[in-house]
Amino acid sequence: MSHSTQSLAYVRKEMIEQQPAPRSQVGFTRWARENLFSGWFNTLLTLVSLFVIYKMLAATLPWVFGGVWNAESLDQCRTILNERYGDTHYACWAVIRERWNQLLYGFYPESQYWRANLAFVLMLASLAPVLFDKLPRKMLYLTMAFPFLLVWLVWGGTIWGVLSVAVGFVLAGVAFKIVDRFGSMALSAIAAVVVAVVWWLFIGPSVVDGLNSVAPLGHLQEVQSRDLGGFMICVIIGISGIALSLPIGIVLALGRQSDLFIVKTICVGFIEFIRGVPLITLLFTASLLLNYFLPPGTTFDLTLRVIIMVTLFSSAYMAEVIRGGLAALPKGQYEAADALGLDYWKSQRLIIMPQALKISIPGIVNTFIGLFKDTTLVMFIGIYDMLGLSNAIRANAAWNGIYWELFIFIGLVFWICCFAMSRYSQWLERKLRTDHR
């Protein structure tokens, strides 16, 4: 016994420091050897793959880079290509150059392009502080003003119209504050809505008319919704939908978990109804049917109707995504927030939502990307987005028969936007990772 105990006994004299891994076990050569050439079969596969890749690039790259940029019609394109290379079928990018403005702005009056450009720059500036919290918080004032600036710049008219809408919001806020002092939250919410609606429908319009006739301040040439199109309409519908569907989705997700029967039923009913109906159906409803339900004579802007439908559609999806995030939170987080005496809204805002939204980032951005791409569906209700314009361009004799170049361009534009969203969400996820699991 004593013999075996002795051989088992061991005492470490000193602890070993961390040491670097051997040279041959790191770097690109190791990776290539292990993954590409680890046996005769894998080497063969690597060589075959390289050959296939070469063939594909050899076929497409000349088509892309040998393309013609200066021409006025498809025939002219082909003539130039024939002169240059002989009998080839390289790309005719000239269509994008020729119809660039149309693809971007639709039928927006050319003299007013500066308004669309300015709105776009302002949009980027007002998105920036939302996306990057390092930027000065004061920029958020611009973010709050942007929706009104957008409407004024893009649709034109005097500033009184959008100011009146803004006043409606302010009045709603004031009403909420006042009633909140006496009654319950539900009561103050109702008061806010009533005040805003009364202002928007009855008082506001006459005030605006009065002001317009007395002092038409900041009057811009008016542009009709049917003249909007191209990339511009995608961005307007997409960004509005994205910005509105997130808060509505949060409210719906919370409502679905509510203990209040009516609130819960309404939210569940809404979510299940919207998710059960194709978006295109909702868009047709927006463009055709809605007018039947509205009082005769009401003009309800088509773009606005589409934005509302797209928003409702994606907010139902958003609600479910966020519900997933809420479900993933340990019950202890709710309890800790409760135990500290935070009320429902504070604990939602400070503890629950920041974590639930963080968990749901991939799903939220997924919904955003889906929404943005779905904006192309508006071509079916007669709005000329980029895809709709590509049809219109082909209808012109000069460009009849051109498909690839336009579709590749449109696809590329969407891909850049969606890829940017995807990269941003990955960056955000990394930035918010604090658990170090």
Partner: protein, 262 residues
């Protein structure tokens, strides 16, 4: 686990006043059909340190969670600091801000730094200005001996450190009563001691404490009363000496023989 060796506690510091802090009368609670708490009667005076022991599923946690309404009771009365717990949300929030609670799994907010964890409730519930809230937070973080971790996130800390932060977070609300729900059950043996030391300090300062714990050494040393629960009822309560040396009920004897037997 015994602490007596290196942390001698001065029991003379531990005083109990006549003022009633918590009064529970004829309290009953059901989970659906299941009768979890049966006719609980308990009066806690200010400055008392009560340890609640019992087998798992005996309703110990549920009982203390009723005190700050994390669980709702269906019958009977609970009066905390002179306020009765009803479904009135204002009362509930008031009581919750007066009663601190520590959980088995700490439940720190992982998206906030240690300092933000501690300043959150004072700032949003008590409306304390940020700077002042931070001073209070640093004071209590020093008390639990982790001021240097203030700007880290909970995930970077050890279990023992996290539980001490959780205690500091509760203390920042200047509670008059502290509830501990198995604060050391999720910890490694090495870390249990640092948390218990913090709790002992708290007891010495006269905090009213209710602890659900399996640390019988702590109960012996710090508690002025040990409550034994089984099947949702208070089976026995006594001073620690009597409770451990001379248990009356058969159920208590069995429990003690199992928990102290090895």
């Amino acid at each position: 686990m015994s602490l007596a060796e290196d942390r001698a506690i001065d029991r003379s510091k531990l005083t109990v006043s006549d003022e009633v802090a918590i009064q529970i009368t004829n309290m009953n609670k059901w989970y659906g059909e299941f009768h979890v708490l049966r006719d609980i009667n308990l009066t806690v005076n200010r400055g008392e340190r009560i340890v609640i022991a019992g087998p798992s599923g005996s309703g110990k946690s549920t009982m203390i969670r009723c005190i700050n309404r994390l669980e709702e009771h269906q019958q009977g009365k609970i009066i905390v600091d002179g306020t009765e717990l009803t479904s009135d949300l204002k009362n509930i929030d008031k009581i919750r801000s007066e009663v601190g609670m520590c959980f088995q799994h700490f439940n720190l907010f992982p998206h906030l730094t240690i300092l933000e964890n501690c300043t959150l409730a004072p700032m949003w519930v008590r409306k304390t200005p940020k700077r002042e809230a931070e001073e209070i937070a640093m004071h209590f973080l020093e008390k639990v001996k982790i001021p240097d971790q203030a700007h880290k996130y909970p995930g970077m800390l050890s279990g023992g450190q996290q539980q001490r932060v959780a205690i500091a977070r509760s203390l920042c609300m200047k509670p008059r009563i502290m509830l501990f729900d198995e604060p050391t059950s999720a910890l490694d043996p090495e870390m249990i001691k640092e948390v218990l030391d913090t709790m002992i300090e708290l007891a010495e300062e006269g905090m009213t404490m209710l602890c659900v714990t399996h640390e019988m050494g702590f109960a012996r040393q710090v508690a002025n009363r040990v409550i034994f629960m089984d099947q949702g009822q208070i089976v026995e309560q006594n001073e620690p000496e009597e409770f451990f040396n001379n248990p009356k009920s058969e159920r208590t004897k069995l429990f003690l023989s199992q928990i102290l037997g090895h």
